[in-house]
């Protein structure tokens, strides 16, 4: 009996009217965990019931604690007929299961109904008492921390990185069970929500077990996904990176963690895959694609006898490059390092890391992007307890990734992720990552902590360019490539272009700003069934990948940049088309050669269209020049001379278009292994090509004052100010015309994406100067003629004056300003509120809002003006409260029952009496940090799944109205859960799934949303000194809220 779960139902508010006759509601609450259910008394005739229930106690195994959510159902009592459900709240109690996270969940939760949406709020307190577990063979993994963040979380230090963990669980989808036909939609949706909640709990527990087995205590970069396979079932799968994390004591934190990506130290994994012969297919330009695995069907395999499976040829995106012999003195050392690393990595099956940013020195070399896709035919999952088929599918893909990495001379894959796209019974599995060589000193236990062992290995390469140096052997290149000496250190070879899926390393030397680069592509396909369909799709895939890659390369050159970070390629399958969307952040790495221009050439010389060609050429040249200006790309030429390079400085930027051919010519004097290089040539041989080139030029640059990227860090901007606006946008386009061509579709799709961006810029114009970060586009083909694009991103303001300064420190003046405001603010209010009504203040906090609202929250979010206003508003509200009788109840009993809570409640009360709204401001961001703040505590992972359905679509404002309110509701529920945990922000937030289905004729629609993130408490940077000292005294509750933003 290792755990006791206790829950108390305090009160409700804003309940809907359930009894038309009286315009009131007789509400009561059912609290369920596992198979045990408790009920509160009926609170008759009230829309703001006060139950103030006893503590309901559940004695349960910790295994159940991990799997099951606490279910709270609010009902309307009806004497004569069945009780009507008002709505439900699911509370994931996982955050209470490890000591460092939240100690209590307490607050107002929106009461959610899958048909009606949010219907009022309920105040609940939940606690867990865990007993020491003596059972060695336990199935639970309580205590393993989970983080969505793809870097080592702030306020932690990784003592060891164990490596890749994965797991999947399968089940039948309740929506497709026979019983669904006689069930109400509500019952069906709830069954689904409950099941998925259970499955993710189970999945997390199983992954936790693996982590414990490996000796770790945390999972970082936890990525959980659902595959709604329809008839064939429901798959919940997750991957992550197992680590051993140490919490940094708060005192030392400011020293080690002043910037957003704190020092970290990942480590090991093994790779001993058989290297594959890459079939080389040199392409006209920088893309070297190796078709490692020619199409092969594995129908014959016994295991998959019922499944049709096609493995798709995959491309390895790299820049050009070759390798090894480059560094003279580093050469032997490198070999040594490689051997050591190799052995360390051989311990693990998959040397994969889901992390995207790393501590300095961890990443030695980056090879390029590796990706693999495979088309599968879904089949009913016969035995949910043995999800072997799905496991085998992923196993296959991972093996392929591993061998690709191997082919690039790399022993690890970083920035690794997996995804699927399902249409009817066809499923595309995709995996991608960046092949890399990691520093062996992070691979072995004990070597990490201090710099003690570091000195034995000389830094193999300078930190600001080392990762660009090619990892593969120059004499034994996987593909032909153009190499030059590194423009930084002049000692080792670098490719001319570098593609990666990771974030830009913080120490990398860049010129100018980065920008979002997208390649978009539509391909029509014939409608087909079964194997024919799968084959058709798998035949199309390589062409799509190739074209996306070409587009990316062209656009990169057009922006005069030479590297892509955060590359994410999504291919989505529909009944009659495939959509491909590649997003990445382009940047100019000063270590790499300047990109050459783009040369337009006619098919035959002296073509009649030569005038036309030259006009296009001119437009391209102009665009490049404009972009250089726009992104401030002025590579520091002097710096190169400063290095004292042995190679004569190539003056390759005197003219725009001969850059790399010239520079490499000069290099070739030293290195004769290089063949003759051509400029990057685009051939116009038919109208399609002309179209392609036009479409290249369509992409409008962001308007003045805006920048955009899809990575954690915006290259070239680091002085963020406090303005943060996370948003989600969904757009669905209906293609009315049946006779669309590929070209026409491409145009439509491109416009769709471009228009979305334009909309964002317009909507966020008040934030200028600002940067859209972590722009995450997801495409889907929900129905035959629909294209859906879902975007989640965050807009952040920055200080324009200091953009040039590249400093990791936050602007201090901003912070001190805030502090000043804060000083004035409570002072003013102290007087005010005490004179107005001290009693009221305490009464209001007594209502049981555990939400903490300190004045700072408002000041950070909305500036000082807002503070004053909020004060005013709050005062009015306070006064109003005194007048309305009965609307407030004291809750002294609550305080008594929760001694743990006391510290917090007290500080809450005091802060609340200082004004601000009664609802905690919860910031959300897809990034791992919030500008101007420091995360002092991770409270646990937020992983929520909601279904919303309507049978009165028109009445709810059509599809847009329906989805708009649903997304707003999801945000509200996430915020409420975070606030109940005592947090004030969600970092690494993402909307993993947004499946929208409609049937306008029936006036119906349904939507499923899955979101996740890390609930945190963050404090303003300027507060950290004071709070650090309080935190040191070991208070868990009190200190957080004091400075909580």
């Amino acid at each position: 009996m290792p755990g006791k779960l206790k829950a108390k139902i305090v009160a409700g508010r804003h309940l809907p009217v359930m009894d038309r006759a009286s315009d009131l509601t007789d509400a009561f609450v059912e609290v369920k965990f596992g198979n045990t259910t408790f009920k509160t008394d009926v609170c008759p005739k009230s829309l703001n019931p006060q139950w103030n229930s006893e503590w309901f106690k559940f004695e349960v195994d910790d295994e159940d604690l991990q799997d099951e959510p606490l279910q709270i159902t609010v009902l309307d009592h009806d004497t004569y007929s069945a009780n009507d459900a008002i709505g439900k709240v699911y509370i994931d109690i996982d955050p209470l299961l490890y000591s460092e996270a939240a100690s209590v969940i307490s607050g107002w939760f929106p009461i959610y109904d899958t048909i009606h949406g949010i219907r009022g709020e309920i105040n609940v307190i939940v606690k867990v008492e865990l007993f020491n577990d003596l059972n060695r063979f336990r199935q639970s993994s309580c205590g393993v921390k989970f983080f969505c963040t793809t870097c080592i979380p702030q306020c932690y230090r990784a003592t060891l990185v164990h490596g890749f963990v994965e797991e999947l669980v399968v089940n039948e989808d309740p929506e497709y069970q026979w019983i669904d036909r006689i069930r109400t939609p509500r019952a069906s949706n709830e069954a689904r929500q409950r099941l998925i909640s259970l499955m993710s709990g189970e999945l997390q527990r199983k992954i936790g077990l693996k982590v414990l087995e490996m000796g770790g205590n945390a999972v970082v970069g936890y990525l959980q996904c659902f595959d709604l396979e329809g008839e064939s079932g429901l798959v919940v799968r997750a991957i992550g990176t197992a680590c051993t994390l140490d919490k940094l004591s708060s005192g030392s934190a400011p020293n080690t963690n002043t910037h957003m990506h704190p020092n970290t130290a990942p480590a090991s994994n093994a790779c001993n895959s058989p290297s594959k012969d890459g079939k080389e297919s040199p392409l006209a330009h920088g893309c070297r694609s190796t078709h490692n695995s020619p199409v092969h069907s594995v129908c014959s395999s016994q295991r998959l006898s019922q499944n049709f499976s096609v493995s798709v040829p995959t491309l390895i995106f790299t820049g050009m490059g070759s390798g090894g012999s480059a560094g003279k003195e580093a050469g032997p050392l490198r070999t040594l390092l490689r051997q050591q690393t190799q052995t360390a990595l051989e311990q693990r099956e998959f040397p994969f890391f889901t992390l995207t940013s790393f501590p300095p020195g961890f990443l030695l070399h980056v090879g390029g992007v590796v990706s693999a896709r495979s088309v599968k035919l879904l089949d009913r999952i016969h035995n949910p307890d043995e999800p072997e088929t799905r496991d085998a599918w992923w196993e296959e893909i991972r093996q392929e990734i591993k061998s690709h990495a191997r082919a690039l001379g790399c022993h690890a894959v970083v920035g690794y992720s997996e995804s699927t796209s399902i249409c009817e019974e066809v499923c595309i599995l995709s995996a991608s990552g960046t092949a890399a060589i990691l520093n062996p000193r992070y691979m072995r236990e004990g070597c990490l902590d201090i710099g003690c062992t570091d000195h034995r290995f000389e830094e193999p390469s300078p930190p600001n360019c080392g990762f660009c140096h090619i990892p593969y052997d120059e004499l034994n290149m996987p593909f032909p490539a153009q190499l030059t000496y590194c423009y930084h250190c002049r000692r080792q070879k670098v490719p001319d272009v570098l593609f990666t899926t990771i974030d830009l390393p913080s120490e990398a030397a860049v010129a100018g700003k980065g920008c979002l680069i997208q390649a978009r592509l539509c391909r029509l396909k014939k409608k087909a069934q079964g194997e024919a369909n799968a084959t058709a799709i798998s035949n199309l895939l390589p062409f799509m990948e190739y074209e996306l890659h070409t587009q990316l390369m062209n656009k990169l050159k057009l922006r005069s940049m030479n590297a892509l970070f955060g590359l994410h390629i999504q291919i989505s399958v529909g009944e009659n088309m495939l959509l491909g969307l590649a997003s990445a952040t382009g940047v100019y790495l000063t270590a790499l050669p300047a990109p050459g221009g783009i040369q337009i050439a006619g098919k035959t010389p002296g073509d009649l269209s030569s005038e036309h060609i030259s006009s296009i050429q001119k437009r391209i040249n102009d665009t490049i020049a404009v972009n250089k200006e726009l992104y401030q790309i002025n590579p520091p030429e002097l710096a190169e001379e400063g290095v004292g390079s042995p190679i004569p400085e190539p003056r390759h930027r005197s003219r725009l278009f001969r850059s790399h051919s010239e520079s490499s010519d000069e290099l070739s004097e030293l290195d004769l292994s290089h063949g003759k290089k051509d400029a990057f040539v685009l051939e116009i041989d038919d109208t399609d090509a002309v179209e392609d080139i036009h479409s290249l030029l369509i992409d409008a640059p962001p308007p003045t004052g805006f920048y955009s990227c899809n990575t954690e860090n915006m290259p070239g901007i680091s002085n963020w100010t406090s303005g943060v606006q996370m948003f989600t946008s969904v757009r669905v386009l209906r293609l009315s015309n049946a006779n669309l061509t590929n070209q026409g579709l491409n145009k439509i799709f491109t416009d769709l994406c471009e228009n979305l961006l334009k909309s964002f810029y317009f909507k966020l114009r008040s934030m200028i100067p600002c940067c859209l970060c972590h722009l995450n586009f997801t495409v889907a083909v929900p129905e035959e003629e629909l294209i859906q694009v879902t975007v989640t991103a965050v807009a952040m303001t920055y200080d324009k004056e200091q953009t040039q300064e590249k400093t990791a420190e936050k602007p201090v003046n901003k912070g001190s300003l805030e502090a000043e405001e804060q000083l004035q603010f409570p002072l003013e209010l102290c007087a005010d509120s005490s004179s107005s009504n001290i009693q009221t203040a305490s009464k209001i906090s007594g209502v049981g809002e555990s939400t903490n609202m300190s004045p700072r929250a408002a000041s950070v979010d909305y500036g000082s003006f807002a503070d004053r206003c909020s004060t005013w508003l709050e005062l009015l509200r306070l006064k109003a409260h005194t007048i309305r009788r009965g609307s407030v109840k004291t809750i002294s009993s609550l305080e008594r029952c929760s001694p743990l809570q006391e510290g917090r409640s007290r500080s809450l009360r005091s802060s609340r009496s200082f004004g601000g709204s009664s609802v905690t401001v919860v910031k959300m961001t897809p990034l791992s940090f919030l500008p101007g703040t420091r995360i002092i505590k991770y409270l646990g992972i937020i992983n929520m799944f909601f279904i919303r359905e309507t049978t009165s679509l028109r009445e709810e404002g059509g599809v847009s109205g329906f989805l708009h309110s649903f997304i707003a509701e999801v945000f509200a529920m996430v915020r409420a859960h975070v606030a109940a945990l005592g947090g004030n922000a969600v970092v690494s937030y993402s909307m993993k799934e947004c499946v929208f289905m409609e049937n306008p004729n029936k006036n119906q629609a349904q939507c499923l949303i899955n979101v996740s993130g890390d609930a945190v408490i963050c404090i303003s940077e300027t507060d950290q000194e004071s709070s650090a000292s309080t935190a040191n005294t070991g208070q868990t509750g009190g200190s957080e809220t004091d400075g909580a933003t």
Binding site: S729, K758, C869, A880, S960
Partner: protein, 357 residues
């Protein structure tokens, strides 16, 4: 090819004040887009018409979803659905409850009933305020009226606390509620020259001097009704016109004080008795609900119009009323000084406010 669905949701709810105003003013989405385009917002951020349309739709939807909350503004602060910065909440509420003076002038003093609501389209046509906006404003009046009707204590304060309005707006609503409750006639042609703000000022005077709450704000009764006892006592003032001696004495006192101080002295002297009878008759009749309703029209007919035809200036008016009021104190046989002051104080300031073109 058409956009089937298009939404944008921010963690902090994004609201453009300009669009909010267009929504409040009852513009359709398309009209709002036109207005915005003319406003030049397109030049910012290189927006196109589609972008503007999409943005306007988003915001309209947001406002529609918020509207429910705005009906009870206290909810806005502790609801969870929208994360709205406090200063924005204040703006939303203040603007939602703001009204057009031209519109309110039309319904002022009318019963806030379904019947009146049916006439809104006429009012809309007359005032060129959109019907949608008229309805919102009318419903606001009604909502405030319904809530405050039942409450004890000071009217303005109640409105401010329940609807979180600024002092100015709360006072205006108090005036509207007060007028609606007492059904003051404001629609007659002779009263057309008066603006809402004139009436609001008068209402303020009446509320703070003639209601029960004016004397004792802890009383059970509310601010919306006139003090019955006081109205009864007003009858006593009749002595000033019924007692011939008192009337003559009063006149001579006033004339002595005014002599040489105004150009219209002759006219003042000539019309003293009429004017005094007019004012005191108004006072004496206020016990009848019907005559309460006609209070303003009576003031205009019995006092303002005669003065105006004699071409009194505003300063003359002030001078006259001041002396008229003060002189009564010197009359030995006149015992109702307190009632007199309470009556004349309000009448005086109302007439000052109403004496213009």
């Amino acid at each position: 090819m058409s956009v089937e669905l298009d939404v944008f949701v921010g963690n902090t709810t994004i609201m453009d004040e300009e669009v909010y105003q267009l929504w409040l003013d009852g513009y359709t989405v398309n009209d709002a887009v036109k207005v915005r385009m003319e406003g030049g917002v397109m030049d910012e951020c290189e927006a196109s018409k589609d972008v503007l349309l999409s943005d306007t739709m988003d915001q309209y939807r947001t406002f529609q979803m918020c509207e429910r909350l705005l009906h009870s503004p206290a909810k806005l602060a502790n609801q969870l659905l929208f994360q709205i910065p406090p200063h924005r909440q204040i703006m939303l509420i203040e603007r939602y409850y703001a009204f057009d003076d031209t519109f309110v002038r039309e319904v002022l003093g009318k019963k806030l009933s379904k019947g009146t609501k049916k006439d809104l389209d006429d009012i809309s046509a007359k005032t060129s305020v959109t019907l949608k906006s008229c309805r919102r404003q009318f419903d606001n009046f009604k909502r405030v009226f319904k809530v405050v009707e039942e409450l004890k204590g000071p009217l303005v304060e109640n409105i401010r606390q329940h609807f979180l309005l600024s002092d100015k707006l709360a006072r205006d609503y108090a005036a509207i509620v007060f007028f609606a409750n007492n059904r003051f006639e404001t629609g007659k042609r002779k009263l057309q020259y008066l603006s809402f703000q004139d009436f609001a000022f008068c209402a303020g005077q009446l509320i703070s001097n003639w209601t029960v709450g004016a004397v004792d704000n802890m009383v059970e009764d509310m601010d919306v009704d006139l003090d019955k006892e006081f109205l009864q006592e007003l009858k006593e003032l009749k002595i000033l016109i019924t007692d011939k001696d008192l009337l003559d004495q009063h006149k001579s006192l006033v004339c002595t004080a005014l002599r040489g101080k105004t150009k219209v002295f002759i006219e003042m002297e000539g019309s003293f008795k009429n004017l005094s009878r007019g004012l005191i008759n108004i006072a004496a009749k206020l016990t009848n609900t019907k005559d309460v309703r006609d209070f303003f029209i009576d003031l205009v007919e019995k006092f303002i119009e005669p003065c105006r035809s004699d071409r009194w200036s505003a300063a003359d008016m002030k001078l006259y009323l001041t002396h008229y009021t003060n002189s009564a104190h010197i009359l030995d046989t006149f015992k109702h000084q307190v009632v007199w002051d309470r009556y004349m104080g309000v009448v005086k300031s109302c007439i000052f406010k109403m004496y213009h073109d």
